[in-house]
Symmetry: D2
Subunit: 363 residues, 4 copies
């Protein structure tokens, strides 16, 4: 339990720095005989890949994943799955400034304080590069969920706010999230965001955003009270993503403003003899356990502090300096958080699904 892994029964552990030779992970606990090929993982990595449009960082990585173990003749064997992605874009670069000065809002200074040493190249371990392995592990988790849950589990993410510009929930269209560079489910908002973000990008500034992830067809019963609640583990999963500063489930912070009458999700019997909820303020989780409704999580992503405007900082020698980021960076890192948040939803659900299998009642 040393910090670089997530999950208990479905557990993955990542390694790798931004500018080292490779990044990788070990996915342990995957049941056997689940279909898995590199293409199943690559598909999700391709969706995450930066540099595909002018709104995400121009780093160009092939991001080709290799399965090194745990799969035999197209199926998992129950042994750990080793995954590796070589870093191809390690252009020699002048890190002089980053090497000695600490970028405000980055992990630079605090890593130096904690460890007395840091791999300053591209942010080292604190780089968003690490999230590629989350997406890879998430792809494996999706295969597990699809194999073990009848009908499969659908996990989709969207960006629902960019800066102060929120979407219209009434205009939600999942297909639209694939049609614009923002994972925006509202076509009209997407258009406005394009102009908005172009202006931010040109000014060398940046902006935050809110991401929503929805899991559908989640089995009833995921979550282990009282500390390993499904929502508690989701909160940890999401808050562990770079730049995330807030997490909410269902109505979330809005619930704090509601009365008990308005917040209750009433229940009726459906024609199929199954209980139906008349609303989903709970976001699919009650008492820490999934109810079978959509699990809905939102996360707040801060703006990157890699901006053109010089900001006050200090260097290793204790001198006061001004730091600005000249290279091209993401004007809105929330965009890239979407597939990562989907992946973290997938691994959290897969982990709890295995726990449910272990500890379901003796009946």
């Amino acid at each position: 339990m040393s910090g670089n892994g997530f999950g208990h029964l479905f557990r993955f552990t990542t390694f790798g720095e931004s500018h080292g030779p490779a990044i990788g992970c070990v996915v342990d606990g995957v049941p056997s005989r689940i279909p898995l090929a590199e293409a199943d993982i690559q598909a999700w990595l391709d969706l995450r890949k930066p540099g595909q449009n002018r709104f995400t960082t121009q780093r160009r990585e092939a991001d080709e994943v290799k399965i090194l173990s745990g799969v035999f003749e197209g199926q998992t064997t129950g042994t750990p799955i080793g995954l590796l992605i070589e870093n191809t874009d390690q252009r020699s670069k002048d890190y002089g400034e980053i090497k000695d000065s600490f970028r405000p809002g980055h992990a630079d200074w605090v890593y130096q304080q904690k460890y007395g040493i840091r791999d300053y190249r591209g942010g080292g371990r604190s780089s968003a590069r690490e999230t590629a392995m989350r997406v890879a592990a998430g792809a494996v988790a999706r295969m597990v969920l699809d194999a073990l849950v009848p009908g499969g589990v659908t996990i989709r993410g969207a960006m629902v706010r960019m800066g102060i510009q929120a979407i219209d929930y009434g205009a939600w269209d999942w297909d639209e999230t694939k049609a614009n560079p923002f994972w925006c489910p509202d076509a009209q908002a997407a258009k406005e965001w394009e102009t908005y973000l172009d202006s931010i990008r040109k000014n060398g500034s940046s902006i935050g955003g809110v991401v929503e992830v929805v899991a559908s067809n989640v089995p009833v019963g995921l979550g282990s009270p009282v500390y390993d609640k499904l929502d508690a583990d989701l909160a940890k999963a999401m808050m562990s993503i770079n730049a995330v500063k807030g997490v909410e489930i269902g109505a979330g912070f809005e619930a704090a403003s509601l009365s008990g009458e308005d917040n209750a999700d009433e229940m009726r019997m459906g024609n199929d003899g199954q209980v139906k909820f008349l609303s989903n303020k709970a976001g699919g989780i009650l008492g820490g356990i999934s109810t079978g409704q959509d699990v809905v999580v939102r996360l707040a992503v801060k703006p990157t502090s890699s901006i053109l405007t010089p900001k006050k900082s200090v260097d290793r020698q204790g001198n006061e300096v001004e730091v600005s980021t000249k290279g091209r960076h993401d004007p809105c890192v929330a965009i890239r958080a979407v597939p990562v948040a989907e992946a973290m939803m997938a691994v959290t659900l897969a982990d709890h699904l295995l726990r449910l299998r272990a500890q379901s009642g003796g009946f």
Copy 2:
């Protein structure tokens, strides 16, 4: 890792139901020779105790904690600390309705689905009664922090919003939190809340709230990237508290609306040769590691669904029913979440402090 414990090196595991003979916990991993007496724990339990005014549940519990092990001659011995509180208020009561009908918004239905059995008396394990042991474990964690951190760590909570009524941050006064029944740091707001909540209470309704917890004098370096980040563990800790639906760190969801310029916490050198941050949008955590600034966490607490107004539900036999709660209940459960959130902050910090000791650099 079966769901009822929290923490790794400082780890506590709780047990007990609302109406069983007792609740208790084991606190493991406490270093030796830390002063600890029952009174050190009792003091915090007394602050949490419900029934002290008309705004919290009228259940009357003595909540007298007993230390059963791990302390010798007033000091911890390094062995596990067993804590026990007997349940004294288990009045025989007619649970007929709760026994068979599921209260909307409660864990009743989902426990029944997951486990095929539930202790319906007072909510059983999902009752807020369990949080007494969190407060007890938190009290031990405070002793650890105070013993190991020069100057001690101060952890204080406040309620900053009740329903739609927010405090004025400019009027913040920590002393005020002890002077009103709401942990409200704004004297004026506290007065208004009294009227507001009285009206809600009399109507048999309920309302949500937002709680803020601040830890001061936190050492630099707490948090283990990239999954056991301090903020990730705090998010899990807070989201595991009953009725919490959202967690944010520092600027939190507001950060999603900010530009990079506005969100950056600039750094300068202080007169004492130490780095000073000029703001604290980060809430004391960068890259998952504490910076030495105040650690600031806010949580959204939903309104209890135990209300007088009948709501649509179902019973165990699959009949559609209406459920209302006649007994007296908390009109705003966020109030009782304050000391619990403080406690979860304490245990999370203590756990990461021990990890820092273990893994601090070899230099």
Copy 3:
């Protein structure tokens, strides 16, 4: 993971010192709807209870276990099971000598070195008193195994060697283990041991022994390669018992002397279409996974160093002293290890059974 718990999915955590007010444990991860009553646990505790004959310590404990949580109307609810035993035999005693002098072969000195403090009364946490909670947790594990494995799992222990006097395996009779005070399966040996141990006891000396535990009707597939092998976890479980200095599986150390021909367990098809092994040198475990044969573990228990003969030691002040134990103590602590070893077998199997349920193949 702070040292006082065992198991992952079926996990128990104990607390309590020899002369504190009580000992207890939390058993977490038990599936719901498994029958459980205090009597199910008490029965095993009664078998373990010391002071029942002249060959075990004369401490008299009622050892009455109370279930504090996790059971409702005679069945487990899936919530943690809190167990408590009050210490009734805490006669005021002069600990003067033990308080300041370190008994050779005991944990006294090393606890003092590690923790800088120790509860010296009766050995504190290092006392065999703690093993009562192992037996209690083992009783719960047996209920889990019996509920989830068709036909139940039978776990029986025996003492197979006392000092240099080994049993005749040809004379093995399980019923005999209940008929003598040594859990000896060989009636003839039991008689000889009685004389042998009487003489040791009268001389104020002590002797070691070897315990064998056999689990029958174990499902195929328990054990998670490559570090959480079933035999690896059993080795840890057994070596964690007080005074145990060696553990072996199946042929054990004898296997080191065998040729590959003599050590192989050949396989044939049984009339029932199931694979049969023609021998069990492996002790029921291959590659870390149970084969369905009897799981056979043996443990070496050292003689207690609480003896009448004075031995050289030191005291807290660094003076050289002689220490002898005047009170009555166990001449052969291996006897009391038998039910404890059975219990540790039960919890290890239960833990791996739950893991098998979680991670069994997706087919």
Copy 4:
């Protein structure tokens, strides 16, 4: 916690099959600023490498380890260390027989039962090939121990018995372990073993052995009672090594034959004011905690069942067959267990050293 990792604070997780593209591991929890280079690891791997004489398998692997992360400018950074070894010797081979028939004494049959699928090539995950990563992780652990313990910790292994031929402990010479192919510390025994093992090898047979590992200059205080005792974790570590069937500490099974008088390690004050033990029956561990004496562990290794003599078995279709191993295999796999056992000693001590740092008393 899914089976393929070991340790808590110093934790490594391995992946890889015998005939996949590569094997690897992630070492997490290493403190920062510890010197580490590939050569530090390669040196130990070279000692382990099979095929160096006629007594170990002829598989020829370059076993070149690559550090993929966690090291910067020659020092650890506190981030996870990714290690990779490509499998170079994957000659196409006819696995027809192994593919369908189960070798008695191997994990083949039980893997097939548990997982419903297995990578039969060279034993897949159950192959001793995995142990290369243990040695690699062990090399990192040695660097940690040497950096954090003044004077460093010396860990050395030896083979003390081959079949029925034991060494003379009086003739022990550590230098001799490097001078013969058996890690035998007794020059005379080594000569006899050569003849003995040649004859076994020529007959296509195999033989077991006993390995002893000794750690010197171990700090006092490693080990966390009562379940994570140092000896309990060592027992698990050693029993997890392929083919190991028994583990003992200090006097081990012999202690079962001793009287309390003969087994006690008496204590005196040394001239340096430190406590000295007059013997080491305890093997350096009392009450689960290291005493500062040499930690001594012995393990029993069974003979490989890959032998020329046909043995009765079954195939996947349920037919009864005879299986013999024609290729060249290790006549005594205990030889190769020596460096692996050393490595497991190193990782166990490193893990507990970090725990001691975390939880040492508040004084």
